[in-house]
């Protein structure tokens, strides 16, 4: 999610960007992250991604990678008062986006996005649509997906 962008592609807030000095700056720390949210290696010397979240990694477990996020009217109004990453997320989600897309487009760690989205939702800046847990085993939904795929030509 984060390793493909060079620091120069980002300006504001670049000082706390995860994997900032990642250009071959040493070993991949395979043992990094005893929690299962820390899902990317951190090169030596890089600032830790969860600096952006004041060290919190828990986030909301309910926020899945495909969870849809939309900016609220409150968020639209408040966007200028928000800090770097928070502003980026609120600006980006004028149309619904998944958490995974937010992470990819902003070159942010997925776990970081989860925490920030949880915060922004708690503040009323974002609406978070939790996926219906039964959708993937719902016969009607599956039939719709099958019809949709068959329509691809």
């Amino acid at each position: 999610m984060t390793r493909d962008k060079t620091p120069t592609e980002r300006t504001a807030g670049a000082l706390v960007r995860p994997f900032l000095s990642g250009d071959g700056a040493g070993g991949v720390d395979g043992a990094h992250g005893t929690d299962d949210r820390a899902d990317a290696p951190v090169p030596d010397g890089a600032l830790r991604p969860f600096l952006l979240t004041a060290g919190r990694v828990a986030g909301q477990d309910s926020i899945a990678i495909e969870t849809q996020v939309v900016t609220t009217d409150t968020g639209r109004t408040a966007v200028d008062q928000l800090g770097f990453e928070r502003r980026d997320i609120v600006s980006l989600c004028g149309n619904p986006l998944s958490v995974a897309e937010i992470a990819a487009q902003l070159s942010l760690h997925l776990g970081v996005v989860r925490v920030l989205v949880g915060d922004l939702s708690a503040d009323g800046h974002l609406s978070v649509y939790l996926p219906n847990a039964d959708a993937s085993t719902d016969v009607d939904t599956l039939l719709r997906v099958i019809r949709g795929l068959r329509a691809i030509g």
């Binding site: 990317a40 619904p96 995974a100 039939l143 030509g153």
Partner: protein, 202 residues
């Protein structure tokens, strides 16, 4: 009735997002997961790749995969809009075992999985097969026809993988959109059969 989407958290919004559903595209290093996602996704796959010479040198064995210079170190994904209220996401698993702990993120709540196999390196897909068997997620084993060829016949591959006879074993071409579509449809068939069986039990 709120059937498509359950709880909404937060304030009001103007546009209701689609219901997201997802499929997992799994398999070993260099089997064509990214190609598969890219063949059918309506957006360019959002992929994170690191050059083999830096991050992954000495960890990933690319010697068996001629021409492969980079490897996916994070997930890559794409999407297909089914209709205005339903969107299918395709999530490729990270290519290396050491990212295995991320698989739960991808697999929990998924419709099913396509396990892609390179018939020259069958053992690469064992972790994926094990994982989905344990999770009870419907999956299909799909042999990628590199250059139109499959190194072993399907019965031999099934024997080598020791997958249940009920698990579909197919061949497909990761570069071909319709071939990928058909492979995904086999996964959907499996998921549908399972969902219908569960429905009858109730």
């Amino acid at each position: 009735m709120v059937s498509a989407q359950s709880a909404e958290v937060g304030g009001s919004t103007r546009r209701r997002p689609p219901l997201p559903v997802k499929l997992v595209i799994a398999g070993g290093f260099g089997v064509g997961k990214t190609t598969t996602v890219g063949s059918i996704s309506e957006i360019s796959p959002l992929t994170t790749e690191a050059d083999m010479t830096s991050a992954a040198a000495g960890i990933d064995d690319a010697s068996k995969v001629p021409g492969k210079r980079t490897t996916t170190v994070a997930m890559d994904f794409g999407c297909i809009t089914i209709d205005e209220s339903l969107k299918l996401y395709l999530f490729g698993t990270p290519g290396q075992d050491r990212f295995g702990f991320m698989w739960d993120d991808l697999a929990i709540g998924a419709i099913g999985a396509l396990v892609i196999v390179d018939s020259r390196r069958l053992d690469d897909c064992y972790p994926a097969v094990d994982y989905f068997e344990r999770l009870g997620l419907p999956f299909v084993v799909a042999v990628n026809r590199f250059d139109g060829a499959v190194a072993h016949d399907l019965p031999s591959i099934r024997w080598a993988l020791a997958v249940d006879d009920a698990v579909p074993l197919i061949t497909f071409d990761a570069r071909d959109k319709l071939s990928v579509r058909d492979a995904l449809l086999v996964v959907l068939d499996r998921a549908l059969a399972k969902a219908r069986a569960a429905q009858t039990e109730r």
